[in-house]
Symmetry: C2
Subunit: 381 residues, 2 copies
């Protein structure tokens, strides 16, 4: 390798904020490691002089010790490191450093060039409100379950729920293409069930199938959903791949809103000292991928999560991120109709309220339960 | 929903072992939650009586309190819950429960039916040894870097390394399709460089491009690699998606060995109380996907990991998993040539030793450094 390497970088950089465990000296040292690890991954003193040594590694832009003994460090990277690919951007932000305990990615900020590469959500909050004809109140969502019901049974349940006026009726994330309820049959039955209900009620309820599918079948399933009359798609990106969401969002042939489900991705957010902060993981990254709504676990449900993190997620769905649209936070994971007021107080009207099993707890008659859920939310306005 | 639901399950079940934080009572309670959460995700008392209530939820098969205050719980699930899809199997094993602190997936065991669905690695250890013509000694691997070098420079470096006899010359995982070194040009240059070196030396060195790529371009890049003469592929499944590996492995058109890179997936393994044990995450799951070798961070390098976990990973690559082939552990992350003896003592000969930046530290003349690396490993036999 030549001693001097004539690399010409644009000089434009994007930034990531890391929260690092340790005293100031330790945190600065680790920040220096991150600069190398996330880019050149090469002994700093052996880097070719010139453009590579000067421009390719991360650069510490600010360092702020926190009261809890950690430090927030902002590191900038050249846009050329991310190129034009979402996965490589994620790789620069958090690839190798995911393996180092005591480093948490708190947030990232795109540069002008990167903001133009990814267009983010196709619909966003306004688009979803138009599609589901819900101008101001929170949207209502539930999940078809339990696993084990046949496609016919699920279609019937979708019909009954739609009669009660739940806006968004999604597959439970565990419904894939099992023999119990094959994907295509389920999609057809559920689309028919919801359509028949809408014709009676005049509502704009929609069925949202799960397209978390084998790599080589995912797009085909989404196209099938579109042709069958699905209103949107739900996908679990930690299983199917982050860029699958981008690909669905970018497809003009499909052109449906996308909800992201958080399954299998919890390891990124359960530790306060590792992983990715909920703000960035659910708020920023999901928008970047192109989802229109992000499901996450709300506090006080079946899982142990804290209120502050949930509020941070909602912030992440709407704070400026390039020129990307705001998306809906979808708190779930054991919510009940009795908590509608509390959720409204925290999230306001810009929220999709997801009540799954809680709907069935409300009443054995799921149409009645759905009507009640809707009435409680309509009270809000 | 009917009160009694006539679901006919086969009765065949597969199992997962979870390590749960808490005293016996707490752990048993949480284990009960897992049984519901990973399958029907529905209030247990409201499940339709009959097949669903009896057969669909997970079932606690054994419970073993540990000395450290945690408990190991084995839970079985009906094969019908996983269906025939890798992602849904992963979802049942760890989907929602990934979001609950204090639960770690330790290992899983397939049932006869599931063992037949996924064939796992196409090549495995024996296949890789044949392809690279390395009958008994550890295989040698290095990475092309730093990011910022042009495709021509990287091709030249690949040539120089191959002259020194490194078996496997892979892209650094940060080389994607950036303008700095566009994918296709890099693949062609590096394939040519390695081929030209082999013609001089008589070695069977191979170039291994990184196919971590946009969802809709990944397979096309792999096909291009195959046509250009690449020897294998490297992919980062935590970025590209777990099933992308399965898809590459199953493709007869591509038919190349696959190395998995651990970037972006560290959050699964950095916490001792959450996530997935390294044995299962790197050893079992990577094989299940169909990879032939799994890169992981070795202790004593740039990252904080412990020796016991590394040994567990190596065990996971070879202990029985259905009828799947054993694959190679690839310890890396700051290894140096000086540690070859130590690695041999721990891993034996069934290992691929990955020295990246350490090769350049050895000598500015990378052919000399490669020759030295090879000589140190050949001493082992």
């Amino acid at each position: 390798m030549e001693e001097s390497y004539p690399l010409d970088l644009s000089g434009e950089r994007f930034t990531a904020t890391y929260r690092i465990v340790g005293n100031a000296e330790e945190a600065m040292s680790k920040a220096g490691d991150i600069c190398i690890e996330q880019t050149v991954e090469f002994p700093g003193d052996l880097l070719p002089k010139g453009g590579i040594a000067d421009g390719m590694p991360g650069r510490i832009e600010s360092f702020a010790p926190l009261a809890d003994g950690r430090s927030d460090v902002i590191i900038s990277y050249p846009v050329e490191a991310a190129g034009r690919e979402l996965l490589q951007l994620l790789n620069v932000l958090y690839g190798n450093i995911s393996m180092e305990p005591g480093v948490r990615l708190q947030r990232f900020d795109l540069s002008p060039t990167l903001s133009k590469i990814w267009r983010g959500p196709r619909f966003g909050r306004d688009g979803l409100r138009r599609l589901f004809d819900v101008p101001t109140r929170p949207l209502l969502c539930t999940a078809l379950k339990p696993m084990g019901l046949s496609a016919a049974e699920l279609g019937k349940m979708a019909h009954q729920i739609a009669l009660g006026g739940i806006d968004m009726i999604k597959d439970d994330h565990g419904l894939a293409d099992q023999a119990l309820s094959p994907y295509k049959e389920r999609v057809q039955r559920c689309c028919e069930g919801v359509l028949a209900a809408n014709q009676k009620t005049g509502y704009h309820c929609g069925y949202i199938p799960n397209v978390t599918a084998p790599f080589d079948q995912l797009m085909e399933r989404a196209v099938f959903a579109k042709k069958s009359g699905a209103a949107a798609l739900v996908i679990t990106p930690a299983l199917a791949g982050w860029d699958a969401v981008r690909c669905l969002a970018d497809s003009d042939e499909i052109g449906l809103p996308i909800l992201c489900h958080p399954a299998y991705g919890g390891s990124y957010i359960t530790s306060p000292t590792n992983g990715i902060a909920p703000y960035a993981f659910y708020g920023q990254m999901t928008r970047l991928m192109g989802a229109d709504a992000v499901i996450f676990i709300n506090w006080g449900g079946r899982f142990s999560v804290n209120r502050a993190d949930c509020i941070d997620i909602a912030r992440g769905t709407e704070e400026p991120l390039g020129t990307m649209k705001s998306i809906f936070p979808v708190p779930g994971g054991g919510m009940t109709i009795g908590r509608v007021d509390e959720l409204y107080k925290v999230y306001g009207k810009e929220v999709i309220i997801l009540v799954g099993g809680g709907l069935h707890r409300q009443s054995r008659n799921v149409t009645e339960a759905s009507r009640y859920f809707r009435s409680m939310v309509e009270k809000i306005g």
